[in-house]
């Protein structure tokens, strides 16, 4: 979940007439978790579905609603203007077809505001922008740009001075040499030309979705902004723009339209959505019985508009709340406005009878039997390493199931057997007193169509007198007491076991596992200094009863 740093005093100014305590008490009830606090600064974690919470401006809007200082939907006041136009050329249609934009005037930008805008941009790029692939945003100093603009495609030898650079670079150089170029260049790898926004003087404004031109850099001296969003579909680009527009309006800017024409593009309308909901559904889902007017005031506290229409409530949802899909989302909005702290838990008597899964209860009984035989239960990961599973135990590595890109070297392949993990456990306990007797029940994995998962039981005993007779006797008792099953053993060989001290375990003429004395070389590999005996059986096929 993304994290943002806020200042209480700045928030107080933005919300108006509230105490610091009111703010810190309310944040969790907007769904914002306080990670840490240090005097005036507070770090909060917000949900990726609410990009409007990526700035303090957006959080202030939410707090105003919850604290009741300002409720109802935020209306965007966008002045229609003919001054700002972008025409879209068909060349870009197959690369990144859509552009939209807005102009924001007469705002004050200090360092903290720039920081908030950058955080918002990052969040929008990562979340709804899907790492700039779906849509991306550029914020520019309006006064450095000569309109009208053109959004088109250009060859890779086109040159301009990109943001944070002092000299001209070609598109190819930007993609090869700059960090953003390396990170996001692959979005454009399928086309020879790249998207570009040029102004009336043919100067580059932006190279979406990679980088802006240096000339339009926003500083604390900037008064007027131009925001452009490009993307692979129109709705997502406009969604992203609506978040930025809402935040800029709250930040004190006045908004003006940017007219978009050409190649299936059109000017953004920031249309509000209307969703009908029956108040009964809200009461039913929340387990409440509150009046329709209470529901309406709750929805308004969540910064939506709501009014009665017949038996229903009609909700008006501002464009930036594209996380709202339908009535169930409004149930949540009503609950948040009502206050989660005001919902008291209730207990409805269950209409059903509970039951433990028979496989779970059989495994539990078997575990109790093993404990009764003096064995201690061990727990290992199913995701283990080649070292434990194959190298240390001398097993053949033909059918490995591995995971991609594991961050941990100890966890790269799925186990097909439990015993090596238990040997590893012994090797980590050589300083503890003997005898050491352990068992584990768990899932093992083998390639099938696509994968078969089975439950195994494995058990080991390590002490100076450990021998085949002891472990066969334990195995025999466990299965006899646990399941009333009689076993036979037939001589076999296995790379992990000592030759002549190893047998297949036979139940109903079928081998269900292996028992024996662990090969002395393997014991040596693990630096264990006493003999070790053990067995492993598959429970899934012949032992556990499925009901």
């Amino acid at each position: 979940m993304p994290v943002i740093e806020l200042s209480y005093s700045r928030l107080q100014k933005l919300v108006g007439k509230v105490t610091k305590k009111q703010i810190s008490d309310s944040l969790p009830f907007l769904g914002l978790d306080i990670e840490s606090e240090n005097k005036d600064l507070v770090r909060i974690e917000y949900s990726p579905n609410r990009p409007d919470y990526s700035t303090d401006f957006g959080i202030a809007l939410g707090l105003q609603g919850l604290l009741g200082t300002k409720t109802g939907a935020i209306k965007l006041n966008v002045k229609k203007s003919n001054k700002y136009k972008i025409s879209v050329r068909p060349e870009v249609s197959k690369i990144r077809p859509f552009v939209t934009g807005i102009v924001a005037k007469n705002g004050k930008i200090d360092d903290k505001t720039i920081k908030q805008f950058m955080a918002m941009q990052e969040d929008l790029h990562f979340g709804i922008g899907r790492k700039r692939k779906k849509s991306s945003i550029g914020i520019h100093d309006l006064d450095k740009i000569s309109f009208p603009l053109v959004y088109t495609a250009i060859t890779r030898n086109h040159k301009f001075i990109p943001l944070a650079s002092e000299k001209e670079l070609s598109i190819s150089e930007i993609l090869e040499k700059t960090d953003v170029g390396k990170d996001y260049g692959k979005i454009l790898e399928n086309s020879t030309k790249v998207p570009i926004i040029l102004d009336a003087n043919q100067d580059t404004v932006s190279f979406p979705p990679i980088i802006n031109a240096a000339i339009t850099t926003v500083t604390t001296k900037t008064k007027n902004l131009f925001v452009e969003v490009t993307g692979i579909n129109k709705e997502d680009s406009e969604d992203m723009l609506s978040v930025v527009a809402t935040i800029l309006q709250k930040a004190g800017f006045t908004l003006e339209t940017v007219q978009i024409t050409g190649a299936k593009n059109s000017t953004a309308k920031f249309e509000q959505k209307k969703i009908k909901i029956n108040p009964t559904l809200i009461n039913q889902m929340l387990g409440l019985n509150i009046s329709t007017s209470k529901i309406i005031s709750s929805l308004k506290k969540s910064r939506l508009d709501a009014s009665i229409k017949g038996k229903d409530i009609v909700c008006t949802i501002p464009a930036y709340r594209f996380d709202i899909f339908g009535p169930m989302d409004l149930v949540e909005e009503a609950a948040l406005g009502y206050g989660i702290q005001n919902l008291t838990p209730t207990m409805a008597p269950p209409q059903t009878l509970g039951q433990i899964n028979p496989v779970s209860s059989q495994i539990k009984s078997l575990s109790q039997t093993m404990v009764g035989l003096g064995y201690l239960e061990s727990l290992n990961s199913s995701l283990t390493s080649k070292r434990v599973l194959y190298e240390m135990t001398n097993r053949n590595t033909s059918k490995i199931i591995s995971v991609l890109d594991s961050k941990s070297q100890e966890h790269t392949i799925l186990r097909d057997t439990i015993l090596p993990g238990l040997l590893e456990n012994l090797s980590r306990n050589i300083h503890e007193s003997y005898p050491q007797k352990m068992f584990e029940t768990g899932t093992v994995f083998t390639l099938d169509d696509p994968i078969s998962e089975k439950t195994n039981l494995s058990s080991i005993s390590a002490h100076k007198d450990a021998n085949f007779t002891e472990i066969k006797s334990i195995l025999q008792s466990a299965l006899k007491t646990g399941f009333g099953i009689h076993i036979d053993t037939r001589t076999t060989t296995h790379p992990s076991f000592e030759e002549g001290r190893c047998a297949n375990i036979i139940v109903n003429k079928k081998s269900i596992g292996i028992v024996g004395e662990i090969n002395s070389k393997i014991i040596e590999n693990y630096k264990i200094r006493v003999p070790v005996v053990g067995f492993e059986i598959s429970l899934s096929e012949s032992i556990l009863k499925s009901i």
Binding site: G31, M285, E332, T346, I356, G372, L379, I451
Partner: protein
């Protein structure tokens, strides 16, 4: 309450009762015990405050460091010679004694008036005095000390001889700390009881009393540790949680840990380009895809819901990719899609996986419980009530609910529980109502309440651990010592 004593303790107490103020050696003489047994017994009794030590310092005369062959002092040698021949010229004596010895011998014997020296014309004649009573005092004392090794200084009467030998460094005075032991008042009472019992031994039914005498041992002594065989502490917590939900009317379902992306993500309304589905969060199985993932209708409806709401190209090959399940919710939703119950309480419990760096708070593989309620009474407050009941049964009463976000539930809440030890609120189970975008495409018509969370977190609170890795280290020291009943 009567104390039971070790036989060694008993013997020592009875001896000390009769003879107060004995040393270890003296106790040994009066009992059948070895010196080590006496020392040990005395230590036990002192520890129990039944015996106190009485320390005294004594001085002993012992042999000095000068080596005297055959313990024969020079004056002795001269004396013996003179006894043979009454009168010997001094020159002749040099044959028996070297110059040093000679001087010492003459001066010692002269000091004690044992000899006379007569000057002739040419020589000096030495003869024994006529009226010598016994032996030379210094020789006598030296002999005694050499025979007995040491003599208490206070017992030596011949002080001139003592001084003489000391000055000549033939003997030395050595201090020695003496420890003697006496019974304390309670020791005396206990020893009287013991001697009474001992006399009883012979009066009543001998065999019976003797056998009971054998049974009575020092119950206060330490004993070696026995290590218990046990189920794993985390398994105990899992079993406990399983049982709680069964008693709350839930039935357990089991599903595979390897799942197709379809059930792990797509069926739960997580778009295919969502960051949570990337390699860096989810374990994909290398090169493994499922051929059959769901019914054609399920696939069609789920993909339509994605296309409509998330506006992207839904790729069935993405949905076929096999992953290690990131939650057990996929198992539950599949069960609901297959059974479409009108009324149900089910849960699923097992290992889930996240591609994370292992640390004190993160594992790549951990246990999760996750359950659903389907039915007409399904509402958010009931869901909160089930949570509250569960926490109450594991001993957590201070809880609150905060809103949160999950891609497949709406509304969504998380439980915060107060941890007294840490003095802060921590996040436990998440919960919510399955989104219609999840249930509708799968033909589930009734509202579904869902909740779930990690089990290790609860077990950590229970066992007071601050490193989650401990559960999978299989460190015998911890497994053998963690308290079973919490």
């Amino acid at each position: 309450m009567s104390q039971v004593f070790h036989p060694i303790e008993k013997e020592i107490m009875i001896v000390l009762q009769k003879n107060p103020n004995l040393s270890v050696e003296e106790i040994q003489e009066k009992t059948n015990l070895s010196i080590d047994q006496v020392r040990r017994g005395i230590e036990w009794l002192r520890h129990k405050q039944l015996v106190v030590v009485n320390t005294s310092k004594k001085e002993y005369a012992i042999l000095g460091k000068i080596d005297i062959p055959n313990f024969e002092l020079p004056e002795q040698k001269l004396f013996e010679k003179l006894k043979e021949k009454n009168q010997i010229p001094m020159n002749e004596l040099h044959q028996f004694l070297d110059k040093n010895e000679f001087n010492v011998a003459i001066s010692q014997l002269k000091k004690n008036n044992f000899i006379e020296m007569i000057k002739n014309a040419n020589e000096i004649l030495i003869s024994l005095n006529k009226n010598i009573s016994a032996n030379i005092p210094s020789v006598e004392l030296f002999r005694k000390i050499s025979e007995q090794n040491k003599i208490l200084k206070n017992n030596i009467k011949d002080l001139p001889a003592l001084e003489n030998l000391t000055q000549r460094k033939l003997i030395a005075i050595e201090p020695e700390v003496m420890k003697r032991f006496i019974l304390t008042a309670s020791g005396l009472i206990q020893s009287q009881k013991e001697s009474l019992q001992k006399s009883k031994t012979f009066s009543a039914d001998t065999i019976l009393v003797e056998s009971s005498e054998k049974r009575a041992i020092d119950v206060e002594a330490t004993v070696p540790e026995t290590f218990v065989a046990r189920t794993h502490p985390l398994k105990d917590t899992i079993d406990e949680i399983r049982e709680i939900f069964v008693t709350l009317g839930f039935s357990e379902i089991i599903g595979n840990m390897t799942q197709s992306s379809f059930w792990n993500f797509d069926a739960l309304f997580t778009p295919q380009d969502h960051p949570a589905r990337e390699l860096q969060d989810t374990f994909y199985l290398d090169g493994i895809s499922a051929k059959k993932i769901a019914t054609p209708e399920q696939i069609r409806k789920v993909s339509e819901s994605h296309k409509k709401n998330w506006r992207y190209f839904w790729d069935i090959n993405e949905a076929r990719k096999m992953v290690l399940r990131t939650h057990t919710t996929g198992v539950t939703i599949k069960h609901l899609a297959e059974n479409k119950p009108d009324e149900a309480r089910i849960f699923s419990l097992g290992r889930v996986f996240r591609n994370e760096k292992v640390s004190y708070k993160h594992l790549v593989e951990f246990n999760q419980i996750e359950g659903v309620v389907v039915g007409k009474d399904a509402n958010l407050r009931n869901l909160m009530g089930i949570q509250r009941e569960f926490y109450k049964r594991i001993g957590i009463t201070k809880i609150k609910f905060w809103p949160t976000f999950f891609p497949y539930t709406e509304p969504s809440l998380q439980t915060m529980v107060y941890n007294e030890k840490l003095g802060k609120w921590i996040e436990l189970f998440g919960m919510g109502i399955f989104r219609p975008e999840v249930t509708k495409p799968l033909g589930i018509t009734k509202p579904v309440l869902a909740w779930g969370g990690g089990i290790e977190r609860i077990a950590m609170l229970k066992y007071g651990l601050d490193d989650v890795r401990e559960f999978y280290n299989n460190n015998l020291n911890w497994l053998r010592s963690a308290t079973k009943c919490q």
